[in-house]
Symmetry: C2
Subunit: 569 residues, 2 copies
């Protein structure tokens, strides 16, 4: 209670509140436009950081996000804690058996993604020192070139994971190859950096000699994946059997991750590695309950992670000290090296051309790890401010690229949902209908405009289908539907019948919730996907009672979109 | 990335890991001995703080938990964040309708709990200044006496809530009366403290005049419970309808709480009040999903809260500067005032004698709020170090007392569970039996020792009951049971039958999981409670398949104790 004044505390809470609001809202916007949330989260930091807010309203920026002093330290501490916790979640999602199965491809991608960028950028720094601004730095050309090569070699596992998760690719084969390859490059990068720091006489962490750092790191990885894994897997059920639930196991997971992260940070590699390895071990245990996983990943992913990514942009003015030539040179060397190296590795490992490009772009993301590395190098006089800026800009640019590019390359499409096609216009909060036909008439009237048909045509098509076979799916829900010529995109209308309708239901129950679905005649998939989504969402205990008790469209939409969580009641 | 070195970061992660481990483990121990977890959590801080670790191994303590410097600031920042988040959860659990229903009693308890301690302790400080060590302080006797009276008036809502939650009393009428009364005392206390700071010329928060602090606080409370409540309740479904689930609503809840906490801290009352009020509003919304509530409360209760309570003891040496007379005087004045005031209020409000004592002891807890208040007073020269120490010791002592005392007064008993009476001895991992009778024989043989009967007597009693009516409850579970003379306490034995047994089950399924329950002949409740627990735990999809696939007793116990979380799969 000595370093922070009351003033510091309220300013801290205020700045965290504002940062979280911006990060979450811009993250949602990014997703709305088909981009990964991380793009919006980084942008939040850029807007609130020196680049925009600091330039337009410098006093407000200095007040909210001071670099120095106790509040600066608190933000840094939170940032370290956030990346540690995030890497725990990232590790927990790793599927070790996929990694083993894809072993060969992982090796190719990992080595390719390391060797090509390293050699290429070492050569560039060695032969074109003027272009790459080695004159700025106090270090010898050898040290500078080694550092530059290392900086180009590193991959940002947190960014890559977040992008893969945002795209729903994380637990796929491609996702696991990229993650495993990224870890490999990261590990190599940190060890190389420890070597470089050793050459400049700087000590990191516990101040170990370089050889010890390397030995301890490799030893720790091996220990964790063998003996450590066995110990954790044995302790897990014991804690669940003897401690309170779920407090015991949550405490265990977090404490182990913090200690493991402290160890790797202490021996001179990054805390993220320790947390990640512990996450892998924990996620691999058959004793981990879904509830534990969910609590950790929801809280950390939606609170710590946005804060962390927003903090990246918070202390950097992307417009000051801007050296266009250097920025472009660094960016080009970075991209060529990784895209070629990892891409060729992936191709050699048997992936398709599109997949290989996707792997290359994913591994190309440098993100926060590069920023941390660049900061350490700047502090130790290995690089100057312009190079620092160029590295940071490259890190942000390469982190933002994979999202849209991978989405395009892999043609990611998510299954259609009813909520994609529902609107306030096509929502009938209280059906007057007393029969199936009347309900379909009311919904057809509501949906005709959106469908671009006359109410009569829409009604006729749906009613024809309904007469073939009644469309109640039980639990008080019915889904009259038709594929219709002249409908361009799916239309979903919903009506709630307070009194209930006879839909000839298999379970004999009256129907209170009627979804009418009209889809284009040629599109077989759309109808099925929407029907499956409705069945998955609505066929839960008490869903229909809740729906009939609601006040309006927004509340109904909220119920549909959050019904996943209700199973846990 | 400027204030914290790599060394700071690994030391920070290490100290958090150690603190969390100690807090959780000692919290579990406290619960094992029937005490609230918070007792163990505070004890963890005392052990790791200057009192023990700092005395025995001062270098280790100074390294792990430095008071000053950037890491000290990070710990303080985390502590502020933790109490803010905890009060959010505490607020979310408030049941407003109970508070309104108990309005009269709440008023009596709140006023009694404020007036009696205030008058009593002001008189004590005024007439016995020597005894209460006003000589230590630079302030006038009036200011000193006013502060002392305020410090005695305050209640620690976080501690009270935690203790009530640990005892399972939080959402009861008594719990809500205590919480509402506590909030009332807290609010009055903070406003009084703002007045006192104004008298000494010190400004807090935004540096508002005292009148403004009071006005803004009351205005904010009224605003939040009326217009603020409406706004939040309208925004909630909108965010759930339009943002990703559950990230949108989690971000919303946290951001709102941080901003509300920042506001109350800024106007000169504590951040905890703002977070609490926002929690009350959010918890009161019918749109809050169970999943959101669970993620927030599990993560915060088991990670931030233990850290927070452990941090209380971390910077105080309870043995140094110890003035026994002062400590006793402060403790006695504190207890008499609150016990009388709140107790009489509760009695006047119509509660029983035992309940009134329980209310008195609960309101008597001073906890972290007192520590924060005492720190501010020490920093501003209103009190000296011995008084500071006496207040802190009183805060800890009064926080530890309510748990055991309330448990005793209210004769809290939780329903019996099967796991209370199960042991490795009475667990048969693989039943050889081919019939009901053989299964009962095997389990009787395993349980006879523990039950203190001969296997034959046990078997006979259970078989007699079984013949009256088969005891399969469906889903592959059977519960043969009997009440038997000569059994002192319930005995539960479990057998797993890989091949399945014919138990004449209502659903016709073979039984794989046999719980045999023997209870004392006179005890009607025990049998029913254990049966209900088994039905609740085991009658879930896939439970029996999971149980039959397990390796041993510990894993089976873990499965039983964590099965609550599995519904959310």
């Amino acid at each position: 209670m000595h370093g922070l004044t009351q003033h510091d505390i309220w300013a801290l809470l205020l700045s965290l509140g504002i940062l979280l609001t911006f990060a979450r809202v811009l993250g949602e916007f990014a997703q709305r436009f088909g981009q990964p949330a991380v793009l919006g989260e980084i942008l939040a930091g850029v807007l609130l950081g020196p680049t925009l807010l600091g330039t337009v309203l410098p006093e407000v920026h200095a007040f909210l996000f001071p670099l120095e002093g106790p509040r600066g330290a608190v933000m840094e501490g939170l940032s370290s804690l956030a990346i540690t916790l995030f890497l725990l979640v990232v590790g927990m999602e790793v599927n070790l058996s996929t990694v083993w199965r894809q072993g060969k491809t992982v090796l190719y991608v990992g080595f390719g993604g390391m060797l090509v960028p390293f050699v290429l950028s070492f050569a560039a720094a060695w032969w074109l020192p003027g272009l790459l601004g080695s004159g700025e730095s106090d270090a010898t050309l050898l040290v500078f070139a080694l550092f530059f090569a290392t900086a180009m070699t590193i991959s940002a596992v947190p960014i890559i994971s977040k992008t893969l998760m945002d795209l729903g690719l994380y637990r796929t084969d491609l996702g696991m190859i990229v993650i495993a390859g990224g870890i490999f490059n990261d590990l190599a990068g940190w060890i190389l950096f420890a070597v470089i720091l050793g050459m400049t006489g700087v000590q990191s962490g516990l101040g170990l000699a370089v050889g010890h750092t390397i030995g301890l790191t490799l030893g720790f990885v091996v220990f964790m994946l063998t003996i450590g894994r066995r110990i954790v897997h044995a302790v897990f059920p014991w804690v669940q059997a003897h401690f309170t639930w779920p407090g015991g196991v949550l405490g265990l997971v977090l404490a182990l991750s913090l200690l493991s992260a402290a160890f790797t940070e202490a021996i001179g590699v990054h805390a993220a590695l320790g947390a990640f390895l512990m996450g892998v071990i924990i996620g691999d245990s058959s004793h981990l309950r879904a509830h534990t996983r969910k609590v950790l990943s929801d809280f950390i992913s939606f609170l710590f992670v946005p804060l962390f990514f927003a903090m990246i942009g918070l202390h950097i003015n992307f417009l000051a000290n801007f050296n266009l030539v250097l920025v472009l040179a660094v960016f080009i060397v970075a991209c060529i090296g990784k895209l070629l190296g990892a891409g060729i590795g992936a191709r050699a490992g048997g992936m398709t051309r599109r997949q290989s490009w996707a792997v290359g772009f994913a591994m190309n993301a440098r993100g926060p790890i590069e920023v941390i590395l660049a900061t350490l190098a700047l502090d130790n006089g290995i690089i100057g401010e312009q190079m620092f800026e160029a590295l940071v800009l490259m890190a942000v640019a390469t982190s933002v690229m994979p999202g849209p590019i991978m989405r395009h390359l892999l043609e990611r499409k998510r299954p259609l949902k009813a909520t994609d096609f529902l609107s306030a216009k096509t929502f009938v909060p209280s059906l007057q209908a007393g029969s199936r036909l009347e309900a379909i008439q009311e919904l057809a009237a509501a949906a005709a405009d959106v469908a671009g048909l006359s109410p009569a045509a829409l009604e006729a098509a749906v009613w024809r289908r309904e007469q073939v076979m009644a469309t109640s799916i039980g639990d008080g829900v019915a889904v009259p539907h038709a594929r219709i010529d002249g409908v361009d995109r799916p239309v979903v209308a919903v009506g709630i019948s307070p009194k209930g309708l006879d839909f000839d239901a298999p379970d004999g129950n009256p129907v209170h919730l009627v979804f009418m679905i009209a889809t284009p005649a040629q599109d077989n998939g759309a109808q099925l996907e929407i029907l499956a989504d409705i069945a998955h969402t609505c066929m839960r205990p008490a869903f229909v009672e809740r729906a009939t008790a609601l006040a309006g469209y927004i509340e109904f939409l909220a119920l549909l979109r959050t019904s996943d969580g209700e199973a846990s009641r």
